[in-house]
């Protein structure tokens, strides 16, 4: 307790009169005038002492540029602040000299970044980096600084802090590094902490740890927070106020409960509709139509108008400003008064009922005992000294016509499993049966047949298309490679595929760099469908896309499945999306499947401790649920797959682990209540009270 006292020491200037930070009419442009990118347009907001504000927006919405401008971190040129003030305790951050700003930065306003690795200096020990700030800003002696740094590391939950002070950044995991990044930002007890997507690069369970940590520290230290995020659900649980940005402008700002209960701007409503709700399953997602905005046009109209269902001519002629809806809630929309009461989910009528479909039960794909080990070689002679057990004995079935989701954190082997099924990785062991054909070591004719049976949609819409091929050539590549049809019939098929995935014919001659992320992903899907496969492996097909685009792609995959009778293996880590789109789920941890069952049973009654932790870490798009829900926060990170723990791979992080877990790997057991569908759990303690 004593520690907390010293940390929340009184700040004489803290006695509240007016906001701590007041941003007024901030505009930032990049590039030469006349040809500039309008990154931030007339943004104003206030931040009170101790308040937590989230700025939410998609990529390119200007949320990061806004805070970087406040911190003096944008490069000028090409960046230019064209108007506005940013008053911090009455002083304008945009006009004070660099030397003073440097002083404020770090001492009064601190920042944590998306990539913890690149924000720490790799050649200095973390102890040195932590004490440096203290000695510079607060003039402490080496001893005092060290003690304070130790306290701070303790506070952010770095075990064994005294020893770890001597370690270098690469000796920590991503989650630990982010904790150190936070410690570093907080050593001087700033009055504002700016967090720029600090959990985006982290796994779900680690993300939960960091959010929890920041929320706790905010209370203990009484500082204000600006949390930048693209994820409305994530911030719902712990901030007080949300500001939504679109194309460089603030479109809505409101207290968090109010924003979720009564969103007013069509964009906010659209965003909320594109997130699957955890309570109401089976309703179709309602995506925002169109593509992200073009910020090359001067902001003289409502930037959302081209994608808005309610836009009228006025929206395209003049730009709306923030108008108060009720006290504390403002929206920038010409028509908010008329639109009041437009329901949050206007398209409930198009709900698709998954449960009513004829239950499929014939296995299309059976994977049994699949292992993929990558040799680790060392020395001049390249001797094998070990193996990364990426996939270590995985068995599952995919039934005809269903979507099986393979879920897990990064490094659990889910992508490798998908690639091995397709033949992009050679299995070290195990069976892969597709309609009775063994594809495990397929070569020659068998391999060709496999390619016609199954195809893959890749994760990265930027990296998965050859930048030097036109869209038409990319889509037709499989047809050419497998020598299907004549040149003319292939051309016709490409047109058909373009229409199928909702792309216009003229795009055929474009190059990938001319397309948006969502359009590229559609091209990737068309390419996979070219040879009319029965089975599609989708390797995180939406995780690199903006929220409003994700729903478009998910709906497209859904429609294609129904129209073409496809079967999907969907690999992903976004659990709320997976709950929405899958029929059955298999949860993977460190190369093994720990739980398999129908989506309803796995999400409804998760039995493996890892599944439970994973589910409890899902951000809920509901500020009220955030507080009441019990979170299971796992300690530590995913172990090194070349040295997996003995027995059950999960035991070092498992809250229920006993002595047997460390010795014996558990066998899969079926816990289903009916015979219709299995619910297989691989845990010694599953089913215990």
């Amino acid at each position: 307790m004593r520690r907390t006292d010293t940390l929340t020491r009184d700040r004489p200037e803290m006695v509240g009169q007016g906001p701590l930070l007041s941003v007024q009419g901030l505009s930032v442009e990049f590039g030469p005038s006349g040809n500039s990118v309008y990154a931030v347009n007339d943004v104003s907001f206030d931040l009170a002492e101790g308040e937590s504000l989230a700025i939410v927006g998609e990529s390119g919405s200007g949320k990061s540029v806004t805070v970087q401008t406040l911190m003096g971190l944008i490069r000028k040129p090409p960046g230019r602040v064209t108007s506005g003030r940013a008053l911090f305790r009455g002083r304008d951050l945009l006009t004070i000299p660099d030397s003073e700003l440097r002083h404020i930065r770090g001492r009064d306003i601190a920042m944590i970044f998306q990539d913890p690795m690149s924000s720490l200096n790799p050649v200095l020990t973390i102890g040195l980096q932590l004490t440096e700030a203290l000695r510079e800003h607060q003039g402490l002696s080496e001893k005092q600084a060290e003690r304070q740094a130790l306290d701070m590391l303790d506070l952010v939950g770095i075990a064994n802090a005294a020893q770890r002070m001597q370690a270098f950044p690469h000796q920590f995991s991503g989650g630990q590094l982010q904790r150190i990044g936070i410690a570093m930002a907080l050593v001087c007890k700033p009055s504002i902490l700016i967090a720029d997507e600090p959990t985006t690069a982290l796994d779900v369970t680690i993300q939960a740890q960091i959010v929890e940590l920041v929320a706790r520290l905010q209370k203990e230290l009484g500082m204000a927070i600006i949390w930048i995020s693209h994820d409305l659900s994530l911030v719902a649980g712990f901030v007080e106020r949300v500001a939504v940005m679109y194309a460089g402008s603030l479109v809505e700002t409101a207290p968090v409960e109010r924003l979720f209960a009564a969103p007013t701007h069509p964009y906010t409503i659209g965003l909320l509709n594109s997130i699957p709700s955890l309570t109401a399953a089976n309703t179709r997602l309602v995506p925002i139509k169109g593509a992200p905005p073009n910020v090359m046009l001067p902001p003289t109209f409502c930037a959302f108008a081209p994608r808005c269902d309610h836009a009228v001519s006025r929206c395209r002629e003049a730009k709306p400003v923030l108008e108060p809806v009720v006290s504390g809630h403002a929206a920038a929309c010409w028509r908010w008064r008329e639109l009041h009461g437009v329901s949050r989910v206007p398209a409930a009528a198009v709900a698709t009922d998954r449960a009513s479909k004829a239950a499929p039960n014939e296995p299309l794909l059976t994977v049994f005992g699949l292992k993929v080990h990558f040799p680790i070689r060392r020395g001049v002679l390249r001797r094998q000294v070990g193996a990364v057990r990426a996939v270590d004995g995985v068995s599952f079935e995919v039934l005809r016509g269903e979507t099986l989701a393979l879920v897990g954190e990064s490094g659990c082997g889910k992508s490798t499993t998908g690639r091995a099924v397709l033949g992009l990785e050679r299995p070290s062991e195990g069976e892969i049966r597709f309609e009775g054909k063994d594809y495990a070591d397929a070569s020659g004719e068998r391999a060709k047949e496999r390619r016609r049976d199954m195809q893959m949609v890749f994760q990265n819409p930027f990296g998965s298309l050859n930048p030097r091929m036109t869209v038409g050539r990319i889509i037709g590549e499989g047809l050419r490679a497998q020598k299907i049809g004549t040149r003319a019939s292939r051309e016709a098929r490409v047109s058909e595929l373009l229409a199928l995935v909702g792309l216009r014919e003229p795009l055929r001659d474009r190059y990938p760099f001319e397309l948006s992320g969502g359009q590229r992903q559609r091209v990737g899907i068309a390419r996979a469908l070219a040879g009319s496969p029965k089975f599609i492996i989708a390797d995180e097909p939406i995780s690199a896309l903006d929220v409003s685009i994700q729903a478009q792609i998910v709906n497209l995959l859904d429609d294609l499945k129904a129209r073409l009778g496809l079967t999907y293996l969907f690999i992903g880590h976004d659990l709320s999306m997976i709950r929405y789109l899958s029929d059955r789920v298999a949860v993977m941890y460190l190369g093994r499947i720990v739980e398999t069952g129908t989506t309803a049973s796995v999400f409804g009654t998760p039995m493996h401790p890892y599944t439970r932790a994973l589910l409890s870490a899902i951000p809920v798009p509901d500020p009220k649920a955030g507080g009441t829900r019990r979170r299971i926060v796992l300690g530590g990170g995913v172990p090194d797959p070349s040295k997996p723990p003995s027995g059950c791979h999960f035991h070092p992080r498992c809250p229920k682990a006993t002595e047997i877990c460390a010795r014996v790997a558990p066998e899969p057991r079926d816990f289903s209540s009916s015979n219709a569908a299995q619910h297989i759990v691989t845990c010694h303690h599953a089913g215990e009270a």
Binding site: P467, E477, G478, P506, R510, F513
Partner: protein, 301 residues
């Protein structure tokens, strides 16, 4: 609706310039590169059409007009044997530029081949070829060239061959690195999963994507080789009298009295070397910016 389409223009409605069109646009935005390209084009054209431009042959001797300063008859003056400097600059440029382009073509062909083999096949092949590259890189290039020319005799052909045979390792190394980083790109995986054959993968997916950085490196190499040829000719190991090259024109002008009192004999060839090398370097820089894959591969943060 007009507004909606205007907003959509960036992505959908604008005329497609294609990949090379886009690169050309960026290149032309680079002012120094455009100037470099124009200057280089003028030099190359002037050298090609030398007989039409110069009133004299490179080896025509005007015995009555030796050591003439620049004037109406001989635009850039004459040298000690009465040869027209302007004509010799143009004809000499033919040799200097030819050596530059041919030698670099030889080294690029070798370098791309070796680099591609090492990068694509990896493993022991890679280990061996990388060893070879490191070995060649340790040779002091100028000393080897001098020794080689001393043995087989100085000539333009020998100069081109020996420079070409010794300059490939940097290009090989670059090619290998580019291919290594491309091999794990998702679009290569996608091509494999579609059943595209390895030869098509190399030709359609890998080579077009590694070409642009290599093109930049090759361009910059041309400038280096022109300088190297000039040094060799200056040492008397390149183009042999009476043929002119910018290097051996400098050699002819290396006495103190000429340096002091007849600057028209050494300033023009020196300036030509400087201008040509500078233009090529500008063009190379422009190409680097225009072909930068970052612009093409996307806006990843």
């Amino acid at each position: 609706m007009t507004d909606a389409t205007a907003i959509d223009a960036g992505i959908a409605a604008g005329a497609s310039r294609g990949l090379w069109g886009e690169a050309a646009r960026r290149f032309l935005h680079h002012r120094l590169a455009t100037i470099g390209l124009v200057v280089l084009a003028i030099i190359v054209l002037a050298c090609i059409f030398a007989p039409l431009i110069a009133h004299y042959g490179p080896n025509d001797i005007d015995l009555r007009g030796r050591n003439q300063p620049p004037g109406g008859v001989h635009w850039l003056g004459t040298d000690g044997t009465g040869r027209d400097i302007f004509a010799r600059i143009l004809y000499g440029g033919r040799i200097s530029l030819t050596v530059g382009f041919v030698a670099v073509s030889i080294s690029a062909a070798i370098g791309i081949f070796i680099g591609a083999v090492a990068g694509y096949f990896g493993g022991k092949v890679d280990l061996f070829l990388m060893g070879l590259i490191d070995m060649v890189l340790t040779f002091p290039r100028l000393v080897i060239i001098i020794a080689f020319v001393a043995v087989v005799g100085p000539s333009i052909l020998n100069t081109m061959l020996v420079i070409g045979l010794l300059s490939w390792p940097s290009i090989a190394r670059l090619t290998r690195g580019e291919i290594l980083s491309l091999r794990n790109q998702e679009f290569i995986l996608a091509a494999r999963s579609l059943g595209t054959s390895p030869s098509v993968i190399i030709l359609e997916h890998i080579l077009p994507n590694v070409l642009s950085p290599i093109l930049v490196a090759i361009t910059l190499d041309v400038a280096t080789v022109i300088l190297l040829e000039a040094s060799l000719s200056f040492l008397g190991l390149g183009a042999q009298a009476p043929a002119a090259s910018w290097g051996n024109m400098l050699r002819d002008a290396r006495t103190l009295s000429i340096l002091e009192s007849q600057p028209w004999m050494w300033i023009p060839p020196g300036a030509m070397i400087a201008v040509a090398v500078l233009s090529i370097n500008f063009v190379g820089d422009g190409l680097r910016d225009a072909l930068d894959p970052q612009h093409i591969m996307g806006q990843g943060k």
